[in-house]
């Protein structure tokens, strides 16, 4: 290796400027997508060349190793070309060689090479002190603006000066001396004089931890430092470390301020994501998903909210995405940034950034993830007592030897296999990313399957000398779901399986159909009848009653960015999202008569959602004065959603099991059509004023014209927000060994929500071809719902950024809530819509992080998240004056559904999610009343409900750890939820039928001790487990639980092992929901049948949550 002469300078190389800008951008993207598993450098580089530029060499390194190079462009200014000859040289050695004697060095982290200024200790020192010379020059910022007041000093010396208003300076320096230039808000730069008399210096803005930039609303990239609200970023790799068919599950425990519950529908089910508490009494409370700056349509469907439904569940829209396409996820828990998205974002936003092509060599990743699934938490069953002949309940005699029947045997080992490939290729000006993925999964309930195919292509290109950037993308998604079950009575095989009489033999029923001579085909065998629970033979249900959903989704995206000049550009985006879901139900002949005629039944529903989003955005980044910089975006957006659903179906008329409309009994068929067309148009603007890159003021405003506002008091809604932040560590020069960074921030925002569509214009539903009266009182004079939020936070970093702490406290007040109280039927309406109701939320979200080397070769990174929210219903309907009658109405409590024994109720002064339950009759002391003569307990004859608690956690803690040693990475996540309750009807019904372990224990103990009396087990449990759902108060369980949520062990096989034929292989063992450290409930409290606001904290024969154990192989070609 031959060194060339050192030459310092500051000549901006315009030819490489574009390349560098792009590289910077790409590098930022790469940061999020790189495997976090790699550590220890053993990849090698082979290259020979004379006078090669560093840019070229960096390309070589990137393409040969797959590592990404992250370089601040000013650092590369004036770096000389080098001559190098290397063969299979380890990357670290190669870098050391090419950077030797250059003013920069490097650091490698997670497959990313960060190029940084050489640390002072190894900076160039002159051999001999040459005679002093007068050095003059200018100091400018990256945009060329002169910096007044910058300090220029001789390193290690005493002389110093500062720049004038033109940024000029003059200083006496030894020819071999080094100048140190510093300016508040900019990175300090050391420049060796090397005998020159004129040195112009460009300073880069200080960025805490190497240019941390996050994606915020509308896809705008912002410095973390400048944010006035809390944004948490999670890399794609982190989310996918333990893969789930719905990647949102991978966020559990990793972000603060968010409560995530996965649906009990098994693989690919929906996920409930509530940020900073539930705000709306009647509206949606789930977070908005935004992909690459554009909101996704809400494709959630009606879900189980009663004791019957739950069969034929389906996944939500976000579960369609290919997790491998995700570069990073930003979570905006508060509504501050969300003010830019309008009402949709009042509940917080999950911003997903997808991958793009990367310039350089063709890069191909092939991954396989295979997980095996088993039930995580099951109730405890008994096997000691049998059942009397013909009786379905198991209150018979004690068996000679315990039955071998175990409901657990019903479950399959589920599997979830994902194969994914992605290809990235491109030149400086044109990059392409292609990906394909296939998911094949089988649930723990036999015959429950999920398949998914994802294809995507994305092309990014730079045109017109880099003034125009085009980003075009297309994706196709196909999802097939069969027999997804969340809970409920209908078509739930778990009810007959759990309750199966222990004196009978399940093997008899595995042959679920038998030849029927009169019908000449096989019909269901299930002599037990439905037992009032719509029970059927469980094996019949899974083999002969089908719920099949097929989804086709196309997404087309086009974005263009045109740079008008150095500080203003214009961006336009269009996205079409077209989703068609076809849902079919096929019930075979001899399915229970409630669902089908003797010939069977067939239903088919089609739902088409088409969303068009377009926006145009003018982006301004202008330095106004030396210390004041304005970043602003002004734009407008258009969102148009068309939904059309229709269904037809009914009992089959003549030919058994011919599932066709032609065979449906036309006179009994149900026909449905439902459609809407929503449109909103908005103008919005943001302005961020930055003072010396240390203090920031952030203003946003959006005005929304929404079609749902027709006939309300408002024709549009304005959402303002204001925020401020200050980097105190820079402002007050607080940097020390202990404190690396300190920022305080605060923001205030208002978000509005138009009323539900259609309700402001009276209409008469059509039933069977004839109009009928409306079920709600026509809504007049409605106002948009408003949420006012404030948040304040602090971001701190300690010990050279090794330790970080982010804390945010917030409160929100949602008032003028669109409220839909139930009217007495005697009014002729079942409900009415008015603005009333007020809900406040306040809470704390915090994240504590550590990142550093804790022992020789052992790196530890750890994040603990803390989430606390307190919700309060301030008022429901207070002194509402009815215009028609002049009557004043007050509603202080409102039932929002339940089972009869469990009820969710909104009560003034209470919280959303409060659970009320029925009780046993009590005596005058409040003890359970026992009839002394009959030794029985009784249900409370007055049907009074008592409050059992709230379904929401008091707080959540997530503790994520990652240890890296050489090529090994071990990581795990412990998730804890403290507080909250849930009611298990499953346990109640099992007790009543004598199949629970508790019922056997009670029999063994001679009965149940209540209020001093020993009550025989059977009569006791037939009361407390009786009715449709038992006595609620006897089945309330603490929802507190602590689990080993995720664990993975990964090993990187370096490319050298494969003689560089392939670029590397990562093998990993992964697991999710591995172990419960603490859980007192007979179900998984984090599992929910319903991802909406209500019907929470209730287990009505929910499908158990899944424990998954598996492996992944990732090959980089």
């Amino acid at each position: 290796m031959q060194k060339t002469a050192f030459c310092s300078g500051n000549v901006v190389q315009s030819s490489s400027k574009i390349l560098l800008v792009m590289k910077l951008t790409l590098s930022l993207l790469i940061v999020g997508m790189l495997s976090a598993n790699a550590r220890g450098i053993s990849q090698t580089v082979t290259f020979s060349g004379r006078n090669v530029t560093l840019d070229k060499l960096f390309d070589v390194i990137e393409s040969q190793t797959g590592y990404s190079i992250f370089a601040n462009k000013t650092l590369l200014q004036g770096i000389r070309p080098v001559t190098v000859a290397a063969r299979n040289m380890p990357i670290r050695d190669f870098l050391t060689a090419i950077l030797k004697d250059q003013p920069i060095d490097f650091v490698i982290e997670n497959r990313t090479i960060f190029i940084r200024e050489k640390s002072p200790a190894v900076a160039m020192v002159a051999d001999l002190p040459p005679p002093p010379i007068t050095v003059t020059g200018t100091v400018t910022g990256p945009e060329g603006q002169p910096l007044q007041g910058a300090t220029v000093m001789i390193k290690g010396g005493h002389a110093s000066t500062s720049t004038d208003e033109k940024g000029r300076f003059t200083i006496e320096a030894g020819a071999g001396a080094t100048l140190r230039i510093s300016f508040v808000g900019y990175q300090t730069l050391d420049i060796p004089v090397k005998g020159r008399a004129t040195i112009d210096i460009v300073l880069q803005r200080t960025l805490s931890e190497l240019n941390q930039v996050v994606v915020t609303a509308l896809g705008i990239r912002r410095q973390t430092k400048a944010l006035t609200y809390n944004v948490q970023e999670v890399g794609g790799d982190e989310v996918n470390k333990v893969k789930d068919a719905n990647f949102i599950n991978g966020l559990t425990g990793k972000v603060a301020g968010v409560t995530i519950n996965s649906a009990s529908a098994g693989i690919g089910g929906s996920v409930r994501v509530v940020m900073r508490g539930e705000k709306s009494l009647t509206g949606n409370n789930n977070a908005l998903y935004v992909v690459d700056g554009i909101p996704l349509p809400n494709l959630t469907t009606n879900q189980a909210a009663d004791i019957f439904s739950g069969a034929g569940a389906t996944g939500d829209g976000i579960s369609n995405l290919n997790p491998d396409d995700i570069a990073s996820i930003s979570v905006l828990t508060g509504p501050a940034a969300a003010a830019l998205y309008g009402n949709q974002a009042a509940n917080g936003v999950i911003l997903v950034t997808t991958k793009k092509g990367i310039a350089g060599r063709l890069s191909v990743n092939v991954t396989n993830n295979t997980n095996f699934l088993s039930p995580f938490v099951l109730p405890q069953f008994e096997n000691q007592y049998g059942s009397d002949q013909g009786d379905f309940s198991s209150w018979g005699d004690k068996l000679q030897k315990p039955t071998s029947y175990d409901p657990k045997d019903f479950f399959n080992t589920g599997y979830n296999a994902t194969e994914a490939i992605d290809v990235s290729t491109g030149s400086d000006k044109d990059q392409t990313y292609l990906s394909a993925a296939r998911v094949d999964a089988g649930g723990i309930i036999p015959n429950n399957t999920l398949t998914r195919n994802n294809f995507s292509i994305r092309n990014t290109s730079s045109l017109l000398d880099g003034r125009l950037t085009l980003d075009l993308g297309a994706a196709y998604i196909n999802v097939g779901e069969q027999n997804m079950l969340s809970q409920g009575q209908y078509f739930n095989p778990l009810i007959p399986i759990y309750l199966f009489p222990r004196g009978d033999n399940i093997e008899k029923y595995k042959v679920y159909e038998r030849y029927d001579a009169t019908r000449n085909f096989k019909t269901q065998f299930w002599p037990y009848g439905d037992e009032g629970f719509q029970m059927q033979n469980p094996y019949w249900i899974i083999n002969r009653d089908f719920f099949i959903n097929n989804k086709d989704r196309y997404l087309l995206t086009a974005a263009a960015k045109y740079n008008i000049n150095s500080w203003i550009n214009i961006t336009g985006r269009v996205k079409l999202d077209d989703n068609t879901t076809i849902g079919e139900k096929k019930y075979y002949a001899s399915t229970a008569g409630l669902f089908a005629s003797p010939a069977g039944a067939y239903y088919r529903a089609t739902a088409i959602t088409k969303q068009t989003y377009a926006d145009i955005l003018v982006n301004i980044d202008k330095t106004l004065t030396r210390s004041l910089r304005l970043t602003a975006n002004v734009g407008s957006s258009y969102l148009d959603t068309k939904y059309n659903a229709d269904s037809y179906g009914g009992n089959l008329l003549s030919v058994p099991n011919l599932f066709s409309f032609t065979n449906v009994n036309q006179t009994q068929a149900t026909v449905m059509q439902d459609s809407y067309h929503d449109q909103s148009q908005a103008v919005f603007g943001t302005a961020e004023l930055s003072w010396r890159n240390m203090a920031f003021l952030d203003l946003t405003g959006r005005n929304d014209w929404s079609s749902a506002l027709v006939n309300t008091t408002a024709s549009s809604i304005f959402y303002p927000s204001v925020g401020a932040s200050a980097v105190l560590s820079d402002l007050l020069h607080m940097h020390s060994q202990t404190l690396s960074f300190l920022k305080v921030r605060g923001s205030y925002s208002e978000v509005g929500n138009p009323p539900q569509r259609f309700i402001t214009i009276e209409s008469y539903p059509i039933q069977g071809g004839f109009p009928v009266t409306s079920s709600y009182l026509p809504a007049t004079g409605l106002q948009p719902e408003r949420t006012k939020s404030t948040e304040a936070g602090v971001n701190m970093k300690f010990f050279r950024n090794h330790l970080s702490l982010d804390v945010t406290a917030y409160q929100s007040n949602t008032y003028n809530q669109l409220f839909n109280p139930v009217l007495a039927p005697s009014t002729g309406y079942s409900s009415f819509y008015i603005n009333a109701g007020q809900v406040t939320n306040k809470g704390i979200e915090a994240a504590l992080g550590f990142n550093g080397r804790i022992a020789r070769g052992l790196d530890w990174s750890s994040t603990a998240t803390f989430t606390l929210n307190r919700n309060k219903i301030v008022k429901l309907l207070t002194n509402y004056n009815d215009h028609g009658t002049g009557q004043t109405v007050t509603v202080d409590s409102l039932s929002v559904g339940g089972t009869g024994s469990y009820m969710m109720s909104l009560v003034r002064g209470g919280s959303i999610g409060d659970i009320y339950v029925t009780t046993l009759e009590t005596d005058e002391h409040g003890h359970i009343f026992v009839d002394a003569a009959s030794k029985t307990v009784l249900a409370d004859p007055n049907n009074t409900y008592v409050k059992a608690g709230n379904a929401n956690p008091r707080y959540n803690i997530g503790f994520r750890n990652s240890f890296t040693y050489r090529n090994f990475n071990f990581s795990f996540l412990v998730a804890a939820r403290i507080g909250g309750v849930g009611v298990s009807v499953t346990q109640a019904i099992m007790d009543r039928f004598g199949v629970s372990k508790t019922s056997a224990d009670a029999r063994n103990a001679g009965g149940v001790k209540v209020n001093g009396y020993l009550i025989p087990a059977q009569p006791y449990y037939q009361v407390v487990g009786g009715g449709v759902a038992g006595i609620g108060s006897m089945y309330v369980y603490s929802a507190t639980n602590v689990r080993l949520g995720e664990a993975s062990l990964a090993y990187d096989i370096p490319a050298s092992v494969f003689r560089n034929k392939i670029q590397g292989v990562t093998l990993a063992l992964t697991g999710r929901n591995l172990f419960m450290f603490y859980n007192k409930a007979p179900f998984d409290p984090e599992s929910t049948a319903n991802t909406d606001t209500y019907w929470q904290g209730i287990d009505y024969f929910m499908q158990p949550s899944l424990r998954s154990v598996g492996f992944s192989v990732k090959v980089k070609l």
Binding site: G529, A558, Y638, Q668, S763, S830, T885, V1028
Partner: protein, 539 residues
């Protein structure tokens, strides 16, 4: 460069127009259209073809005996409102399923999600439709005939509802108040007669002035808009309701009953007069009993029906029920039993002889003859002797079922109700407390015996409308219906006197607490199934 040119073309041709779209501000003129439900009718559309007055008749008519209303499981409504209530309490039918572990309203553990539904049907489906018609017709003398018909159908609906609950938020319904007070049942009943008299007068005048005119022909599912038949219906309903007052207000009962019979149109006299709800005018009426019995497998013949019809060797039996699959004999289920296994109570018992197309009978001519017979033994002028009216009633019922001549049946003076045995669970058998009433009329019998005879035959004739039969059982104590085998009411309902009413719905306690309190105060006892209604006054 070719590639770039193509992209530029794409940009110009596709992207720019897209962006231009975004700039299209103030294009909100379509918003009203977007925010109007495209699958529902607007007020303006309801003005076409007089829909605003017409269509609500079919809504009212379909909700008195609830037929399919909701997608998928509409028959459950009929099951809850009618079948698991009056049909079982009257002894007509027996429930063969074991809902809520076999502890439910059928054995007096009153199930809130069941007993509130009849109230909701009346006030959320019938009354709003009536109110819409009233609003459209008020102040328009030319439309009073339409309102008159709505009034008749309303009385039919609410009379059935008040006979379940007693006091109702009725006379002040639709005042716009969000909380409606309840009326005592006496007020409700007396208003029925006023409303019916007024409707009869209006329709009579309309028919006389516009002979042959049938303005509601397209919407009336019962009589195709034939007002003369509706006048007859109104008289018949008036007779039925008048008889309900026989013990509580005998003078008014006689007055209204005699007026009904004496009206120039009179009451029903032949089967052709019967009020039947059946498919018509594009509306499919599928008899819910067929679904409940055959698809759900939730109902079978009642034990009392088995006892009377087999005991009397009644020729109507095969027209009402089918022999059991297992032994080819007729078996009924006793009400108020505990069912541990549904299959024990399906195949061994008799299904109902009902087809999907079997019309739902609101009221029959046979019932009128029995009402008149009862009036006659009370000494009222009913246009015939008690015996002839009784015997014509039986024959009219035979005609209705196509069961031939009742001549021999009428003469049977020996056969009595048969002892009952449950083929599945012997403990449900009934050998004592059986009815001893015979068929043949004896003028020398005491009035009470004659009453039992009339009501027992009326009970057979009114099948399958268990709601009416249950009301008449409560009023007269006849026929002798077996008590529930298990009483889960915790002492609120007396096993011997049986259930007397339904509790007010829980929804009323939640959303109309002040109103329901006035209703409770009008009751003769607590708001439970053991409290007698106002007209339930037989000493």
């Amino acid at each position: 460069m070719i590639m770039e040119t193509n992209k530029w073309k794409f940009f110009r041709k596709s992207l720019l127009p897209g962006l231009a779209l975004v700039l299209c501000f103030g294009c909100t003129k379509n918003f009203r259209e977007y925010n109007t439900n495209p699958n529902a009718a607007t007020d303006a559309q309801l003005q076409y073809d007089n829909l605003a007055t017409g269509v609500f008749f079919s809504q009212m008519e379909q909700n008195i005996f609830p037929t399919a209303q909701e997608p998928a499981f509409g028959d459950e409504m009929y099951q809850i409102v009618q079948n698991l209530c009056g049909d079982v309490y009257s002894g007509y039918m027996g429930a063969s399923n074991n809902w809520f572990g076999g502890v439910n309203s059928t054995n007096y553990a009153m199930t809130p999600s069941w007993y509130g539904q009849a109230f909701n049907r009346a006030f959320l489906s019938v009354m709003p439709a009536w109110l819409s018609i009233r609003k459209k017709t008020t102040g328009n003398p030319a439309m009073q005939h339409i309102y008159a018909l709505a009034q008749i159908i309303k009385v039919e609906s609410i009379s059935r509802t008040t006979d379940m609950y007693g006091p109702l938020p009725y006379t002040q319904f639709g005042s716009g108040s969000l909380s409606t007070p309840y009326d005592p049942q006496s007020t409700i009943y007396y208003s029925f007669f006023t409303d019916l008299d007024s409707a009869i007068a209006t329709l009579t005048s309309y028919v006389q002035n516009n002979p042959g005119s049938m303005p509601l022909a397209n919407y009336d599912l019962i009589y195709g808009g034939d007002y003369t038949k509706w006048i007859k219906f109104a008289n018949s309903l008036k007779l039925r309701l008048a008889m309900r007052l026989a013990y509580v207000d005998p003078a008014k009962a006689q007055q209204y009953a005699e007026a009904a019979v004496a009206n120039s149109y009179g009451v029903f006299t032949t089967d052709a007069d019967d009020a039947l709800l059946a498919s018509a005018d594009g509306i499919n009426i599928h008899n819910p009993l067929q679904i409940i019995c055959y698809n759900f497998g939730d109902v079978r013949m009642g034990a009392n029906m088995e006892s009377f019809l087999t005991g009397y060797k009644d020729p109507r039996l095969p027209f009402l029920f089918n022999p059991a699959v297992t032994d080819g004999k007729y078996h009924g289920i006793r009400n108020g039993i505990t069912i541990t296994n549904k299959s024990l109570y399906t195949d061994p018992f008799s299904t109902l002889n009902v087809q999907p197309t079997t019309p739902i009978r609101w009221m029959s001519a046979a019932e009128m003859y029995f009402l008149r017979a009862e009036g006659a033994i009370r000494g009222w002028n009913m246009g015939g002797s008690a015996q002839s009216l009784y015997e014509t009633g039986i024959q009219t019922s035979f005609n209705q079922w196509g069961a031939g001549s009742a001549a021999n049946y009428i003469l049977d003076s020996t056969d009595k109700a048969a002892p009952y045995s449950d083929p599945s669970v012997n403990s449900n058998n009934m050998t004592t407390g059986l009815s001893t009433i015979t068929i043949h009329w004896k003028a020398t019998d005491p009035m009470e015996t004659q009453l039992e005879r009339i009501i027992t035959q009326k009970w057979i004739a009114t099948y399958p409308d268990g709601q009416e039969a249950w009301s008449e059982f409560r009023r007269t104590r006849y026929p002798k219906i077996f008590p529930v085998a298990i009483n889960n009411s915790a002492g609120l309902i007396n096993t011997t006197t049986q259930i007397r009413r339904l509790p007010f719905p829980l929804t009323e306690y939640q959303s109309n607490a002040a109103g329901v309190a006035t209703g409770v105060s009008e009751l003769k006892g607590g708001d439970n199934g053991g409290t007698k209604l106002w007209w339930d006054a037989k000493p």
